[in-house]
């Protein structure tokens, strides 16, 4: 029983249609993003599903999963706050920004907030050097940029997301 295929039949068909019919392996990365969409990490039982769809081994899929940083193998926060601390951003204060934000949230870099919503990470260059400090928000199957940030601005974004999660919980 291919759970992934059962859950997203149309999307998987659309993904496969993007590549030549005999090159289904190219669909591995889009399928991993799909498998990750709901829980924020790739559940290990979906690897067999992806193997079946693409016709390659689970081992090969696991190698791809482990190679790329935007795929997560373990559960983390619902949202990843990924702050670039590479050279150009660091020259514009991103390291201090990261440190202060972590203090305010009561976490160390790489850790998840007590409510399970936010994992704060330092990451490599995100092509936004002129608008540092900045972070990308990965979660709910999306990736969005937040640029020209201050700790206050970011905390406002975080509060809005906490509010959204509360509303969702209240609405069942």
């Amino acid at each position: 029983m291919n759970k992934l295929l059962k859950k997203y039949p149309n999307e998987i068909e659309k993904i496969l249609s993007r590549y030549p019919a005999d090159q289904t392996r190219s669909a591995v990365m889009p399928l991993l993003f799909l498998a990750q969409r709901e829980e924020g990490f790739v559940p290990s039982d979906t690897l067999a599903d992806i193997a079946e769809i693409t016709g390659i081994s689970e081992t090969d899929i696991t190698s791809v999963l482990g190679f790329y940083t935007l795929f997560h193998e373990q559960p983390g926060g619902r949202y990843y706050i990924q702050i670039c601390t590479d050279l150009p951003c660091a020259l514009r204060g991103s390291e201090e920004y990261l440190e202060t934000l972590c203090q305010k949230l009561g976490v160390k870099e790489g850790e998840t907030t007590a409510d399970g919503l936010f994992t704060v990470e330092a990451v490599k260059c995100l092509a936004a050097c002129h608008r540092a400090p900045m972070f990308q928000l990965q979660g709910d199957g999306e990736i969005k940029y937040y640029e020209d940030q201050s700790v206050e601005k970011t905390l406002a974004v975080i509060e809005a997301l906490r509010e959204k999660a509360k509303q969702e919980a209240a609405n069942g």
Partner: protein
């Protein structure tokens, strides 16, 4: 310059909408080319424009196109939109703000090598851009500019986006192809080159986003017009990404040959008040660290002059500006850590070299290093040079060696004497 050639959204509001782009000469080059030119004529025009690859290598674009053999089919074109070099953020602005010009360029390149299916490989972080491009591609299919038998020309073309998932190495073109084929992004041994055996083993042309965005104006206005900008060996305009210790960071579209001094002081507004210029890196983290003196400031930013005068390639023209508040040992620790994180692990010199360089620079940043560690660090870098499978390993050594040679006293502040 009166009007922008690439960053046209600065002159034309809403040029990211198809109707507006078409009102401003959009797709005129493509319509002209598919209705009245042969593929070889398109390539010849691009070749005589002197356009050079904007991803960093500066290889002549028209010559690259000619490498695809005509006895092996199908051909593929892949737009390299993996922009990941620290200090580089130009392709992103083009795709976000003037996307149709980039797409038209990709369509022109596809026609020139007669590809019927072309991909745009974007770094996974450009998730929003990819979704926007998907919509724009749909818009073009809806008006018949993409699809089967485009405008009755007999030529068919489909475009597809493909998202990476966070790996700097995928900007290297053979690693990019591996990733597009659903594998780990590890570079291939060359030859064969992608032009002969690329995507799915077929002849493949890979061009940078900015390179492609240059094509519509070149094919609309002609090679001679394009050569009216820039220098003899580096014709045309270039987007310079300015970052670091600079008052006005951002992208600046300027003719090649503008000097460092003009870029940093006239356009970038100089370094913050009370500080002085110390160094520049012209190709992001992959650069030599160049000491800023009058000779440097007078150097024209063109492929030949940067190399001849400063020994440092222009690269992607991602200029990171460093002022006197920055310790170069700290800076080198940053770049080394980047490359250590991004090394794909395939070849030993890079995998081990970046690991050990990172160990030494980390020791320096903890102030636990000894004086001998400075030479040890340089020695590891020199051992790596010329031995790595792809350019990543080589690039990781540039800042290390030039940093130690030119700013040794900064390193001495981080070691026990």
């Amino acid at each position: 310059m009166d009007k922008k050639i690439l960053l046209r959204h600065l002159d034309v509001p809403n040029i990211n909408q198809l109707e507006v782009y078409r009102q401003h000469d959009g797709f005129k080059a493509f319509e002209k080319v598919i209705s009245s030119m042969k593929p070889a004529e398109v390539t010849a025009e691009v070749k005589s424009s002197g356009l050079r690859g904007r991803g960093g290598a500066g290889f002549p674009t028209g010559i690259k196109w000619n490498f695809l053999p005509n006895d092996s089919w199908p051909h593929y074109v892949v737009a390299n939109a993996d922009e990941s070099e620290p200090g580089t953020f130009k392709d992103r602005e083009l795709m976000e703000s003037n996307p149709f010009q980039f797409l038209e360029g990709l369509m022109l390149a596809s026609f020139a090598v007669q590809a019927n299916l072309s991909y745009i490989y974007l770094r996974g972080e450009f998730w929003e851009i990819a979704h926007d491009l998907d919509q724009k591609i749909q818009d073009l299919e809806d008006v018949g500019l993409l699809g089967e038998n485009i405008l009755g020309s007999g030529y068919s073309l489909h475009l597809r986006t493909h998202l990476g998932a966070g790996a700097y190495i995928c900007g290297e073109e053979t690693a990019l192809l591996e990733s597009l084929e659903g594998k780990m992004g590890q570079p291939r041994l060359r030859p064969p080159f992608p032009a002969v055996e690329g995507l799915y083993g077929k002849p493949t042309l890979i061009n940078n986003v900015e390179t492609l965005a240059n094509l519509p104006p070149i094919l609309l206005n002609g090679a001679d017009w394009y050569r009216g900008f820039g220098t003899e060996q580096s014709p045309g305009v270039k987007i310079f990404s300015l970052s670091g210790c600079i008052n006005k960071p951002g992208n600046y579209e300027l003719p090649l040959g503008v000097t460092y001094g003009e870029l940093i002081n006239t356009y970038g507004g100089g370094v913050p008040e009370g500080r002085t210029l110390k160094a520049v890196m012209s190709a992001g983290a992959s650069s030599d660290i160049v000491v800023v003196d009058q000779y440097c400031l007078d150097t024209p930013l063109a492929y030949e002059t940067c190399m001849d005068r400063l020994g440092a390639p222009l690269g992607s023209a991602s200029v990171i500006v460093i002022d006197d508040s920055v310790n170069i040992a700290w800076l080198v620790a940053k770049t080394v850590n980047f490359f250590k994180h991004e090394s794909c692990g395939k070849c030993t010199p890079c995998r081990e070299g970046t690991f050990w360089m990172n160990s030494i620079t980390s020791r320096m940043m903890r102030n636990e290093a000894s004086a001998a560690d400075i030479d040890l660090l340089k020695n590891v870098a020199l051992q790596m040079q010329g031995k790595c499978l792809c350019a990543l390993g080589e690039f990781s050594t540039m800042a290390v060696v030039t940093g130690i040679d030119r700013f040794r006293s900064d390193f001495e502040k981080h070691v026990r004497s």
